[in-house]
Amino acid sequence: MSASPVADAIHAAKAAQGGALIGYLPIGFPDLEQSVEAAVALVEAGVDVLELGLPYSDPVMDGPVIQAATQAALVAGFRVKDVFTAVRAVRERVRAPILVMTYWNPVLQYGVERFADDLKAAGGAGLITPDITPDSAADWLAASERAGLDRVFLAAPTSTDERLRLAAAHSRGFVYTVSTMGITGARTDVDAAARTLATRLRAVGADPICVGIGISTPEQVHDVLRYADGAIVGSALVKALADGGVSAVASLAAALARGARDTPSLAD
């Protein structure tokens, strides 16, 4: 197993503060320059790992907030090559590892090998792929292996144990634990299903595991980090950026990071 910058960052955050905070923002929203500023601000506010989204025309796993932002990025002229520009620009300023969250067709059209090479050259750590599973991803498994990139697959409450094993065996960086049956968007309750799924993932050897979808408050981050290694926040950050710009997203990130730091490092 080759080293994973993302797993390292998560383990380090866990040792230092009880767990990692992972923040999602789309690239190119509201424009390329400000998306870079916002990503840098997240890290400066205490986000441990960045998840930068590649805007796509048909985002079936995304709720209204992220749909609106990625649609706006596309209307504003986002191009796939902007991903590498943005990753490079963020990495020049902050050290947190960057995963690109992307639906599969844009990578396929760019060329899987070429995308892997260009992402690696830009300083990216790997990909989160919401609409392909390990059993449909032979070309990405090969390319990520060759280029030394992390690859994060999803695990869902409805996944069988056999499929959890598949996700655990093929993921590197972390396993994305889908908290609830649904699409991205803030929820008042993060499902009890998340805790059950995290336990099932541990049992099949997944490490580290991070929980995402629906997490929007410092309290939810705090709760999730009692049983998971990382908490992923998306829509709430995107909404803050859309409503109040870079300063608003930075202050939300700082509050979320306090939620992460308050976590006792011994899980109860």
Binding site: Q67, R79, Q109, Y110, S159, M181
Partner: protein, 403 residues
């Protein structure tokens, strides 16, 4: 291997299952239920009985000599899916899936719809089986097929206008997938065409292949021979694969699919996925897709809501690459002229979707000559299109529709 034996997940290099993990369990459950049902004579019996007593199958064939006189004199025979209950071929697939849903114990149906025909068929099945029903329909389509929106609501379905993206069929499919992810425990996504992730392309094909199986026997009985060519319109491709399938291993029978050419292929405003697209992934399967250089799906255009889709079923992508079927584009105007021609020469008002196949048959008649026998899938009736057609010809024939 016979061409008819394709069972998925892959048709050549096309098809597959590129889907969020959250939906894999439901797709596996559906695949298993379908495999079991295929071997179960009771399932086949139930579906056949419904088709006999509810759909009105077998649908008849009608030879249309007055229309054919405008097509180089070839014999033209229509397979009358327009006479099915609810007005199109969509009911064939809907009743099949609804029976499966009963076996799965789910109580809610969701579906996408473009022209509204699939939505109407799904709402109908929900009423018949006592299930609840939500239909996603692009906002553009709720306007141009307003009559079908009213039909769905009368049948007790909730119709949700989809306002994101291009506000047409592809966005309705996205929205249906989002609903399904959140409600998969109680809900079945009754996909309306031979697209989407496995098992949908093969399963929907199996529910639609009855069209070609009936028509092959009916044409043989009428003419004593197989047809020279078979023509159908292609949106997602379900009526086309439905009529093609029985003929796939009859090499003498030429197969033609007609895609929406919109304002013309040069205009950039069309839905001619197989002619102008390139392979990619859309809605869970690898197929031809209308997409830009970056792999962003492009907006399709067609006067016909049911064909206005930038993807196409993977089995068609395979048949195209094999050279077994030929796909061509028919412009909005060619389709509308054929729409009016069939109405005036034969007293049959086709759906605008089906009018693309009729326009294609006129071309084929001229090419293949008077000895040819052309079987056309008349996939639906035009009642839903009266407003579009009225406006279309009102504009063209300003002041006198009587020329």
């Amino acid at each position: 291997m016979a061409l008819r034996d394709g069972e998925g997940p892959f048709f050549g290099e096309f098809g597959g299952r590129y889907m969020p993990e959250s939906l894999i369990a439901a797709l596996d459950e559906l695949s298993e239920a379908w495999q079991a049902a295929k071997l179960d004579p009771e399932f086949a019996g139930e579906l056949a009985a419904l088709h006999r007593t509810y759909t009105g199958r077998p649908s008849i064939i009608t030879e249309v000599p007055r229309f054919a006189a405008h097509a180089g004199g070839a014999r033209i025979i229509l397979k009358r899916e327009d006479l099915n209950h609810t007005g199109s071929h969509k009911i064939n697939n809907v009743l099949g899936q609804a029976l499966l849903v009963k076996r799965l114990g789910k109580t809610r149906l969701i579906a996408e719809t473009g022209a509204g025909q699939h939505g109407v068929a799904t709402a109908t099945a929900a009423a018949l089986f006592g299930m609840s029903c939500t239909i996603y329909m692009g906002e553009v389509d709720t306007k141009r097929q307003a009559l079908n929106v009213a039909r769905m609501r009368l049948l007790g379905a909730e119709v949700v206008p989809v306002t994101n993206g291009s506000r047409t069929l592809k966005d309705a499919i996205n929205e249906a997938f989002r609903d399904w992810v959140a409600n998969v425990e109680t809900t079945h996504y009754l996909l309306g065409t031979v697209s989407g992730p496995h098992p949908f392309p093969a399963m929907v094909r199996d529910f639609q292949k009855i069209i070609g199986e009936e028509a092959r026997a009916q044409v043989l009985e009428l003419t004593g021979a197989l047809p020279t060519a078979v023509a159908a319109c292609v949106g997602g491709g379900s009526n086309a694969i439905g009529i093609f399938h029985a003929f796939l291993d009859d090499p003498s029978v030429k197969l033609f699919g007609f895609e929406p050419g919109g304002f013309g292929l040069d205009s950039g405003k069309h839905g001619a996925t197989l002619e102008m697209g390139r392979p990619g992934i859309l809605h869970g399967n690898r197929t031809y897709v209308l997409q830009d250089e970056d792999g962003q799906t492009m907006e399709s255009h067609s006067i016909s809501a049911g064909l206005d889709y930038p993807g196409v079923g993977p089995e068609h992508a395979w048949l195209k690459d094999l050279g077994r079927a030929t796909y061509r584009a028919i412009t909005d105007d060619e389709a509308m002229q054929a729409f009016r021609l069939l109405s005036r020469t034969e007293g049959i008002i086709p759906a605008i979707e089906s009018a693309h196949a009729l326009a294609g048959a006129i071309q084929l008649g001229h090419e293949l000559g008077p000895d040819a026998v052309i079987l056309v899938n008349l996939s639906g009736r035009g009642d839903k299109d009266m407003e579009t057609a009225g406006r279309y010809f009102g504009v063209l024939d300003e002041g006198g529709a009587e020329q």
